[in-house]
């Protein structure tokens, strides 16, 4: 997670570097630390350091880290030649390294030679079956080929060991959603909520899945999760507000108005909040909103 202070610091450094204020190395370190993806900038500034022998030798042992970082950024920007050069330098310095092996696998992947990359990763995994990064690369590889069932299989294999990795759970959930396997996706989102109960995004996604599943019980649960999202975001999340409205109308449709346990206030409040929000931020769309809300009300 990148906090707000870290982000402002990053942006400040970035603009400083952009205007020739120096601090490129600090910027690259920060990017690495926060694991943000700004490959074009990393490539540009990283290369400017690497191409300057004086600056490069000033880094000491950090030089190799920079090579790795630039190589990955270059692959991300499809500058395969640059990546290849970096990897070759690293290869010369650390001939036996697995980390360089990983980079080579990634280069193959970037070139699109899937089978070779797959082989490279498989042989690396044989040496060290607990390398998390390579497991994840394999998932990405399967996903890049459009082989979603394969990606699911790899992810499940990975999660069997590293079952506390919430990023992997999230990826799995999203794949399941894209394959319309909502029950499985719901399980993954439950896992995410357990791991981080205060992140509203997971509540929202879980509510979406429950709503899509349908059925009275799921709809009621979905409404609850939409409301928890509303609570956790302080009512700022438009999607959650719409979700509350949709759930309420769907529930009343199913129960034909015999529904006593829910108070009707929530929906009217959500509509009011939506109207207010639209008036403030997109006043030209208010009429669209009104008709949409009306269609919900008609059905109730």
């Amino acid at each position: 997670m990148v906090t707000k202070t870290e982000e402002t610091q990053l942006n400040r450094l970035e603009s400083q570097v952009e205007h020739g204020g120096g601090g490129a190395w600090d910027y690259l370190c920060l990017v690495r630390k926060l694991k943000v993806r700004r490959s074009d900038k990393v490539l540009k500034y990283g290369l400017s350091i690497l191409n300057d022998p004086k600056k490069r030798s000033g880094l000491g042992a950090e030089e190799w880290t920079l090579y790795e970082q630039v190589a990955i950024a270059a692959m991300d920007c499809q500058c395969l030649d640059v990546a290849k050069d970096c990897i070759n330098v690293l290869q010369k310095r650390f001939p036996e390294s697995k980390r360089v092996g990983r980079l080579e696998g990634m280069l193959l992947e970037a070139k699109g030679s899937w089978a070779e990359a797959e082989n490279a990763y498989a042989s690396l995994l044989e040496d060290n079956p607990l390398d998390q990064v390579i497991h994840k690369r394999r998932v990405a590889l399967a996903k890049a080929q459009g082989n979603l069932p394969g990606a699911i299989e790899f992810l499940n294999k990975y999660l069997e060991i590293f079952m506390a990795d919430s990023d992997a759970w999230r990826e799995l959930a999203e794949i399941y959603v894209s394959l319309q396997m909502y029950k499985q996706a719901a399980f993954c989102y439950e896992e995410l909520i357990l791991a981080q109960p205060t992140v509203p995004l997971y509540h929202l996604a879980y509510a979406d899945v429950l709503y899509t599943l349908g059925g009275l019980e799921n709809l009621q649960a979905a409404k609850k999760y939409y409301s928890s999202t509303v609570d956790l975001t302080g009512g700022k999340n438009t999607r959650a507000l719409f979700g509350v409205c949709l759930c309420t109308s769907a529930i009343t449709q199913l129960t034909k108005g015999r529904n006593k346990e829910d108070s009707p206030d929530l929906q009217s409040l959500a509509t009011a909040a939506l109207e207010k929000d639209y008036k403030q931020r997109a006043s030209d769309k208010v009429s669209v909103l009104a008709s949409a809300l009306k269609s919900l009300k008609v059905s109730s």
Binding site: T3, T5, T198, L232
Partner: protein, 119 residues
């Protein structure tokens, strides 16, 4: 000198404090770390001050307790007097690091006292 080293790293760890407590474990941990650091820091500083002022016997310990009380107060003030939105219990803010700091306090108290007064 209270709590200026506790910096800005305290984050709101719960969204609201009515019947259900929702804590972010990471933020709670970082808050505790801040408490631990400020206490240790103050224990060392107060040890040096007590030594230089030449407190002996009970006076020194009373001084330590006083400083720790002030720290607690400062931390509570830093938490804007709503302890439950930053910590899960009062004990955290009042007791955590109290005894851990005592050892450092005694050491630095003795050290400063000896250097200034004994020799």
């Amino acid at each position: 000198m209270g709590h200026n080293d506790s910096g800005g790293s305290e984050k709101k760890s719960s969204e609201s404090a009515n019947d259900i407590q929702t804590f972010n474990a990471e933020n709670l941990q970082s808050n505790m770390k801040v408490i631990y650091y400020s206490r240790t820091f103050l224990a060392i500083i107060s040890g040096v001050i007590a030594g230089i002022l030449g407190f002996t016997g009970l006076t020194g310990f009373i001084f330590y307790v006083l400083i720790m009380a002030i720290t607690s107060l400062g931390l509570v003030a830093k938490a804007k007097f709503s302890v439950h939105s930053y910590f899960d219990s009062w004990n955290r803010i009042i007791l955590d690091g109290f005894f851990g700091g005592l050892m450092s306090f005694v050491l630095f108290w003795t050290f400063a006292y000896d250097i200034v007064h004994i020799f």
